[in-house]
Amino acid sequence: MKPFVLWAHEVRRAGPAALAGPPALVLLMTLLAILGARLGSREPTTAFMLAGSLEMLIPLITGMAAASSLGRDQAVELQLTLPVGYRSTVLRRLAVTAGWTGLCAAAGSAVLALGGWWALVPGAPRGLAVQLTWLAPALWLAALGLLASAAFGSAVAATTTVALVWVAEQVVAGPLQASLPSRLLYLFATTRGTVPGDWTANRVVLLTTAVLLVAAAWPLLGRAERVLGGEKE
């Protein structure tokens, strides 16, 4: 029973606003898929917007949520004395928000599959690999958010870092795709295009580097003094 109580607590702690965001996005996507033609949007445009919501907005949500997952604990001193480690609490917290967002993203991807929209997205893979469209960038930005949050000790700085990376990748898509290393790390390789044949490599590199980012955050999260420092205002 104990684990369930802990999970339920994390769900309540995340708050309705954070939990309502992803379903609202999927609802908007469904409306767009149904009403897009009536609103005067051409089919490729609608497909681009639907895939873009998955590949761009879902990662933004997970990244920002991960970036603000630390530093809001009221009685962190007490929490550090418990047998449950602080790191596992943080991971459970991340699993709740990221898992919920992921579920919603899978539902959104089903909307695209049902309407046959994936076929209209150039560069989108076939079959199960299509889920990597959102999974890889979402995990990468979440890992970046966790690392920034652990390194800066401030939700403001961490969310700004995630926001900055997201906007920068949107604004300078061309130059970032010009060289191989930044192309492999580019987050929006499906919707903004990539070199043919590089898509799978890009997704694999994103997933691997996400693991590295979490590994870098791990020792920082383990230091009680840093955690006790609280949010630096």
Binding site: G15, A17, A18, G21, S41, T45, M49, L57, L60, I61, M64, A65, S68, F152, S154, A155, V156, A157, T159, T160, T161, A163, L164, V165, W166, V167, A168, Q170, V171, V172, P175, L176, K232, E233
Partner: protein, 265 residues
Amino acid sequence: MIATLRYEFLMQIRRPVMWIVYGLTFVVLVATMWPGYRTLDLGLGDGHDPKAAMLASARLTMSLLAIVYGCLLADRLIRDRRLGIATILEAAPCSAAGRLVGKYLGVCAATAVPIALVFFGRAVVYTFTEGKVETLAWSLAVFATVILPGLIFLGALALAGPLLMPPLPFRVLFVAYWFWGNLIPADMMPTLSHTIFAATGDYAAYGLFDRARPDAVVYGWPDAALNFLRPAATPAVAVLWMGVMVALAAAILLLTRLHAARSES
């Protein structure tokens, strides 16, 4: 009001996190926009003209630094309540409106300091590399007309937004708004970007400084939706844009004050 302004300004400008994040942003700005940021030439071949160079610098600087500006402001107004000092402040012998305006001016000014440093720093570097002293005058004019009105509006928006929703969704929406409503081309989807309500200062750049578009077409996107919000860029419309920005900021602050007055009673 002056005391609040001074206090909030100092509190924000001494925040190490602000300087760290702006520093990182500047590194990202230089790294990602390198050839363009070095020549200040956005594909027009006019990197040697101080006026065009300063407009390009303003555009590049704002595209990324405005995000930091908004995110750093987002927690300032709700901070008093979260720390439990709002009630003490209300007992102070000064008007609540004065405190709100002082806080707004103080934190916005402090958070805009790094943007001004980056922009004027680039202008000084340009003055030396190109040997044109008039650059400094152009940079002052561009900052006051292109960058400042946008910052006035964004400051009020970022300060008041978290009153309506928690800071986390607000930041997500703010980033999405900045990209959707200011940076994307107008004919990509229905958007506020390049309209009179966009905060990027396009109207001042085109209307007051005769900036030419890369394709040398007059200001306008024939196929874009919401085109009634995109009048031709004349000097009068540029002044109107500045007025719209200030009026929107004033309206947001007024709503904030009313909101606070309601939740007090």
